[in-house]
Symmetry: C2
Amino acid sequence: MNEFELIARLTPTLPGNASVIVGSGDDCAILEAGWADQVLLFKTDAVVEGVHFTKETPAGKIGRKALARCLSDIAAMAGTPVSALVTLGLPQPVDVSRIEAIYAGMEALAREHGVAIVGGETSASPNAFWMSVAMTGTATRGKSPLRSGARAGDAIFVTGRLGGSLLGRHLEFEPRLIEARWLVEHFAINAMMDLSDGLAGDLRHILNASGCGAEIRAASVPISREAKLHARSGSMAKPPLAAALTDGEDFELLFTLPARQAVSLLDTWKSRFPGLPLTCVGKITSEPGLRLRDKHGVRVLAANGYVHLA
Amino acid sequence: MNEFELIARLTPTLPGNASVIVGSGDDCAILEAGWADQVLLFKTDAVVEGVHFTKETPAGKIGRKALARCLSDIAAMAGTPVSALVTLGLPQPVDVSRIEAIYAGMEALAREHGVAIVGGETSASPNAFWMSVAMTGTATRGKSPLRSGARAGDAIFVTGRLGGSLLGRHLEFEPRLIEARWLVEHFAINAMMDLSDGLAGDLRHILNASGCGAEIRAASVPISREAKLHARSGSMAKPPLAAALTDGEDFELLFTLPARQAVSLLDTWKSRFPGLPLTCVGKITSEPGLRLRDKHGVRVLAANGYVHLA
């Protein structure tokens, strides 16, 4: 049973109340706060030594990453981050200078985004060092694109270039907060999320939630320089396209909007965000399933991202 | 360096913003939400296997405890809990039926208190199983008693009976939400917190934050039945008074109010909450330090809770 199957098993019985606009299953929870034009966003995310970073990772980058992951989820709701709480699980003896450096990295990014760090907690933790960040934010009411909003005929877009993030970018990525808010202000974004499990895996979440399918054009997928370089490292290395589709931790935006807005979006994006690529990688279809179109034709993409050779 | 020294070292540089009413250092953060009469509460708390529970702890009680600890912090601010997010750190292979039982215990308590569980996250975790709960709540503006509000002349009260919680009560305690809100509605509560590190340790947090001292009357400290029984278990067992002063995880309320309200409080409490003891254990003094008065006189209580024999 993987993470998603476990979550699917746990969510049907979760208690709700009148404050819940969107509960489990999207990038953030959306809560009613009684504000006329705004809603409250709520999110937690954890990083664990040996999973999301190693003993050798520079401490400042651990703190930066822990906060940035939550910021990326706030971005996926086109939100604005407000406050964060930090929980640390600390093996003994505590390495104080490492913790201070983790905090320094986190605080620098928090200041950049105007996020207050309003406290937290430390706990002893046998063997494993981990940290969990909880975050509140706000979003314009009705303007957070959900995973369930994709419609047949939508164009599918991604920001940035994908794959090979674990070679370094996962510690330095920029949460796409400004871009996401700009998108929902100017275009009819139907569905949006941040890329944490790879384009093939994450798009599948949108398709499942929206009850539709998609076709990705292989030649259009923007592949990162690292993924291309890494592919040349030996015969066992992941091919660049597979890396772009299945490597995790890109933390770029994945979104859909009606195809008729695609050209206008690409034009205005280029002048507003000249440094950040925006790419149409395919389209949402009424036919279910995730398919890849390349020079050999159209084939079904398996759950693990690999192509079924028919 | 202990937990409190580490936190003291980290907090001075934490970034703030206009939303922060009370940041790090109290039971919850208090955030400005633009509501006329209410403020937003925000809290996280974690439990770790081998620290807060064992492999043998019934799973339902682990989930209950994880949520109850956060509820107890909301209670300490005289607040009302609203929503929770749950993060799980899971060693492989994942024991699905244990996770389901953990959730069942948590959900039952959440329903009791009207708390929505609005999502969360799972992460792999080498070796250690842990879970972190983040919670939002609301409180009446200006009605959350802080740790810094104690004044010389205040009477010091605790709910319940103290000590020996680890013999079982730490898995089944009732967060004092109703009692705390009733207290601030009817009396001028100057300072309040929940007891997690023992009366002697936690009262010291109030004294440090308030810039005053306190005298505890040994004969008045309400000692739990478990602490008394355990003290008879052998010559190495903690004496009952020491257990009541220094055992952790009582999760009762500790608060202070002007001494002139003490009699009226005790009278009305008895008819409102007949099943829950409320005890005046001493008084706040302008002289700094924490002192214990017993039949031998008045002596200073050390940071570890033990009495310095002069």
